[in-house]
């Protein structure tokens, strides 16, 4: 795979970020997360074609966990709570997209400062990784429902995967697989939790959970 296609994948990741910022339905966000997971699973492919079976496994694992299983768990959790829409995020769509642009610019500026670039698309990769991390954080604080925070968390996690590819061509294989397993476990626990919250509170609006203070 040439570095042009590599850059195209990274740009598509940025587009999914903006898409999630701009949508008001959680199911659609979950599908966008699935798309983002599939895009991420393409990133180790150049190494796989260069003859690394581990990169192949990593790609397959990412596709399985981030592209299929996690979105399925998320969509089931959303269906079980009957709360499909984003109930007034703290910032409106226009403001969040604008903030997304600010984040992107900042990420390009900071991404260029990460030491030791070695490959031609490294600068773009660092910037996209950082932008995805920051977008995930922003979504976590900008959504009222529990599902929204989980979506933000998953985007944050995706950003770290991209940045780890930028810094060191990904972590060692065993660890990368352990992390994937851990993330899958986290998604299952989050899904179970959303259902318990829904059963206990009969809503999942975390901004209304304000009993514990001081």
């Amino acid at each position: 795979m040439m570095s042009g296609e590599y850059s195209a994948i990274l740009v598509l990741v940025v587009i999914t970020n903006f898409y999630i910022l701009n949508t008001s339905r959680y199911i659609i966000s979950a599908r966008a997360i699935a798309l983002q997971g599939c895009l991420l699973s393409l990133l180790p492919l150049p190494d796989a074609f260069a003859g690394s079976p581990q990169a192949m496994f990593l790609s397959a694992g990412t596709l399985m966990v981030k592209g299929i299983l996690m979105p399925v768990i998320l969509i089931r959790a959303i269906r079980s709570t009957d709360e499909f829409r984003v109930a007034q995020p703290f910032l409106g769509h226009v403001a969040s997209v604008l903030l997304g642009f600010v984040i992107l610019v900042a990420a390009f500026w900071a991404g260029a400062a990460i030491p030791l670039p070695t490959r031609p698309h490294d600068v773009l990769m660092g910037a996209v990784g950082l932008a995805t991390i920051l977008t995930g954080m922003m979504i976590m604080v900008n959504r009222r429902k529990a599902v929204g925070q989980v979506i933000g968390f998953l985007i944050l996690e995706n950003g770290i995967l991209i940045l780890s590819l930028r810094i060191s061509r990904g972590l060692p294989f065993v660890i990368e697989m352990a992390i994937l397993f851990d993330v899958l476990l986290a998604a299952m626990i989050f899904g179970g939790f959303i259902q318990s919250v829904h059963e206990t509170f009969s809503h999942t609006d975390v901004s209304r959970m304000r009993k514990l203070k001081g």
Binding site: I114, I167, A186, I189, F193, E199, T200, V206, L212, G214
Partner: protein, 489 residues
């Protein structure tokens, strides 16, 4: 061999819990299981101190002086909490209709929690250490809301979200350290093995290591409860069932501190100066102490008071870690003292709270005469926690102050002493109010009192007072040898 056994016992324990039909049997089994684990940990620890560090599984599992100390502490406190859990849950059953099922769930999660903490300590690979730390969050979130009421659900959700997001930054930091390790010529899994990281830290790219260390302190610091990432801690500690609060405060926070300790020698060797990393730790430690001191003054819930005291003590330990080799010894000693003392305090506060039917400190008075063992235990524990002499915590705080003055950090020590003084005054008033005064109404009798547990309370108090006056020579050697590892020697 023994490392494999240490990893296997919690897993087997969790599976057995799912097969046991009756609640009483589950509560009995968690005592047996954690006792086995404690015995194994102590044997392994003694072996490490006699013969030197051990490893297994091609160097992926390892135990050295630092992790052996923490491992014995973790399993010991866990065993005490398991014994306590039996009496506690007999007084306050889970949900009466689904009692046996909930007990099974509790037991399985309890062992998974133990297993993930043991994993943090025995993995030699800092990547796998991170994975275990993340799984402690996943295993323990449901433990907080085992009663599934609104408040505990809110606390558990907050815990899950804040700690997951925080600890992910720790992963990012680990990635930067890995990048630095690759830049120093390492490759593959060895590039994240702690022993290899330390040996070639001198050749690493310092700017990658610096970014990584800041992220690691913020990430693991969320789990330690360093301010301003501490917001989950008082909620989780106050809403969880008391045995769970005790384990959270007594050992989970230590495990996260242990993770940061592992990166201190790497940063020192890579940046060429030990001061850079230490300044960050001093800053976070002091801020935590000051924030905790302010919040201690306004607490009404006794478990929240103890939770903020944990934030303060984690700040003290972090300041100790920021003061160099003498500070490392003091910080490790303080870790031991805080774990024992905070566990004791939670045990007593939980039982006193059950007896009065409230955790509001204004409604609790005269507990020394109403329930002598737990009431006086609570008074003693709070007095020791705020640093009354002669107590072990007083001694370790004194050692930290001495290390700070010797290192010339006078401003830090001034802030340290001011925060300790504020906490002292803030916690003394409610402690006296709870202990003495008129007992309000007929106080509920406690069921499930066991002589063993009362003996534990007396023994823990005696230990804390005794080691304040005289530290056994063996214990000093333990701290000094563990501190040498943090110093990278």
């Amino acid at each position: 061999m023994i490392l494999w056994a240490l990893a296997a016992v919690p897993m087997a324990g969790a599976l057995v819990c799912l097969l046991i039909p009756r609640r009483q049997a589950v509560l009995g089994w968690i005592i047996i299981g954690s006792a086995i684990e404690t015995v194994l940990a102590v044997i392994a620890g003694v072996g490490v101190y006699r013969v030197g560090s051990m490893d297994a599984c091609l160097g992926h599992l390892a135990l050295d002086e630092l992790s052996a100390f923490h491992l014995s502490l973790v399993t010991g406190i866990f065993l005490l909490s398991s014994i306590y859990a039996r009496g506690y849950f007999n007084q306050e059953p889970f949900d009466p209709t689904r009692d046996d099922r909930q007990a099974r769930k509790f037991g399985a999660l309890w062992f998974s929690f133990l297993g993930s903490m043991v994993g943090v300590l025995i993995f030699n690979n800092v990547g796998l250490m991170w994975v275990s730390m993340e799984s402690t969050t996943l295993a323990s979130a449901f433990l907080i809301c085992i009663h599934a009421d609104r408040l505990s659900m809110e606390a558990a959700w907050k815990y899950l979200i804040i700690c997951s997001a925080g600890i992910v930054l720790g992963l990012l930091g680990t990635v930067f350290i890995y990048g630095a390790s690759v830049s120093a010529g390492a490759a593959g899994e060895e590039a994240l093995c702690w022993t290899d990281l330390v040996s070639h830290a001198g050749q690493m790219n310092p700017s990658l290591v610096k970014i990584g260390f800041v992220l690691i302190v913020v990430g693991y610091g969320t789990k330690i409860g360093l301010a301003p990432m501490h917001t989950w801690l008082p909620d989780a500690h106050s809403q969880a069932p008391t045995p769970v609060s005790a384990v959270f405060s007594g050992v989970l926070l230590n495990c996260a501190t242990y993770c940061i300790c592992r990166f201190i020698p790497i940063v020192a060797a890579s940046t060429g100066t030990p001061d850079w990393g230490r300044r960050i730790l001093l800053g976070f430690g002091l801020v935590s102490m000051v924030v905790a001191a302010v919040f201690v003054l306004v607490q009404r819930d006794v478990k929240r008071l103890l939770a903020y005291s944990s934030v303060e003590h984690m700040g003290i330990i972090t300041v100790g870690l920021g003061l160099g080799p003498a500070g490392y010894v003091a910080a490790l000693y303080h870790t031991l003292n805080h774990s024992v003392c905070k566990t004791l305090a939670f045990f007593c506060a939980g039982r006193v709270g059950q007896s009065y039917g409230t955790r509001n400190m204004e409604s609790i008075s005269g507990s020394v005469s109403a329930c002598p063992v737990w009431g006086s235990g609570l008074l003693a524990a709070i007095l020791l926690l705020i640093g009354c002499a002669p107590g072990a915590i007083f001694m370790s705080e004194f050692m930290i102050v001495r290390a700070g003055i010797a290192g010339g950090h006078l401003a830090v020590i001034a802030g340290f002493l001011a925060a300790v003084a504020i906490v002292f005054c803030g916690a003394l008033r409610p402690a006296i109010h709870m202990a003495f005064g008129d007992t309000p109404e007929p106080v509920g009798a406690l069921r499930g009192e066991s002589t063993v547990m009362r003996g534990c309370v007396v023994a823990m108090t005696a230990w804390l007072i005794l080691t304040g006056m005289w530290i056994p020579a063996g214990l000093t050697a333990v701290f000094q040898r563990a501190a040498r590892l943090i110093a990278g020697m």
